[in-house]
């Protein structure tokens, strides 16, 4: 039994590869903005137009939305819903699962269509899935600075609350 949730980390190279893939997607689909959120609610990356809302709150709610829908899927006999679509009058969002650990959220408006976003997203999700599977397969220890990074941090934490 694992002790708890596994931690994971990603490097600047990972970040560059993710950003590049998402930029290409935004260009091809004409969507406004793409966010990557991990399943526990943490924001991993934002690409495209910088959102005007609080991205941290957005990420948390996205993860909750996805988790709640996962449970709804199970209730109706599906293992999960690997994508979700929320339609607004002007702004809409499309969410898709990546490697079971991350959620890709795309915000778009009437400059594009759901069909095009969905089509282009498929390739991007495949690409990101490959990328993230590599990230998750890599042991944290290999990051050089993972363990030991926080050694002796107790005093620093104490100081933060003084």
């Amino acid at each position: 039994m694992p002790v708890g949730a596994a931690s994971w980390s990603f490097t600047e190279d990972d970040f560059a590869a993710i950003t590049q893939s998402l930029q290409r997607f935004l260009h091809d689909s004409n969507a406004r903005c793409a966010l990557l959120v991990d399943r526990s609610g943490q924001l991993v990356a934002t690409v495209g137009e910088q959102p005007k809302f609080d991205p941290t709150a957005f990420a948390t709610l996205t993860a909750a939305d996805f988790s709640a829908n996962d449970q709804l899927a199970k209730l109706i006999g599906e293992s999960d819903f690997n994508s979700l679509f929320h339609q607004g009058e002007k702004e809409s969002m499309y969410l898709a699962d990546v490697a079971r650990r991350v959620i890709l959220v795309v915000l778009f408006d009437n400059r594009t269509t759901l069909g095009l976003v969905r089509l282009k997203m498929k390739e991007t999700v495949n690409e990101l899935t490959r990328l993230f599977e590599q990230v998750f397969a890599r042991p944290t220890e290999a990051q050089g600075g993972g363990p030991g990074l926080l050694a002796g941090a107790d005093d620093e934490i104490d100081k933060l609350f003084q």
Binding site: M1, G4, A5, S7, E156, F161
Partner: protein, 225 residues
Amino acid sequence: MSMINYASREINCKIVYYGSGLGGKTTNLEHIYGKVQPDTRGKLISLATETERTLFFDFLPVDLGTIRGFKTRFHLYTVPGQVYYNASRKLILKGVDGIVFVADSQVERMEANQEAMQNLYDNMAEYGYDLTKMPFVIQYNKRDLPNAAPVRELQAALNPGWEITDAARQRVTPDAYHAGENLVEQLPTGEWIERATYFEAVAVTGDGVFETLRAVSKLVLKSLA
């Protein structure tokens, strides 16, 4: 599931406040929200019913400062206290790095506390997480009330300890927060046990709130070291 982002030099961790209904979980977050510098915290998000009972969760991100050049961001969550929201309680535990169990000290809430504790163990086990090996802190809240049970009784009911079978860990470990008490010790029966560290609190006035947060954060960061 802590996430270390080497690109933005951030460490992200998730802490969940768990416990029975009306125990003071949301009050803990509200106090933290009110006390920390606005530039080091985000919005306090509450998914609550019209009567202000937590429906899904409350959420507060706080930056605890920089360690080794990495910004430490703690995402604090509460779960709904009522049992009939168990499905959403469980969702919040996904990817948790540290747990604070907020117990209501009132004698008449003892059973509700025990039920919530059992429910926490069960929900964690469903994710395959072992609570006894994770950063885990108990807060006895509402210590100011006249009907608050003695800490000794609360400890016996909610924090009796779990058995340690690993010989390497079978050595007396004092509780750094309570002089004369031990976190790991041998019972008269010969069995070695470990307890979670605990704090007394009055969340409405803020007593014990930061002590609890500091202790659990420290345990979480230690678990990453």
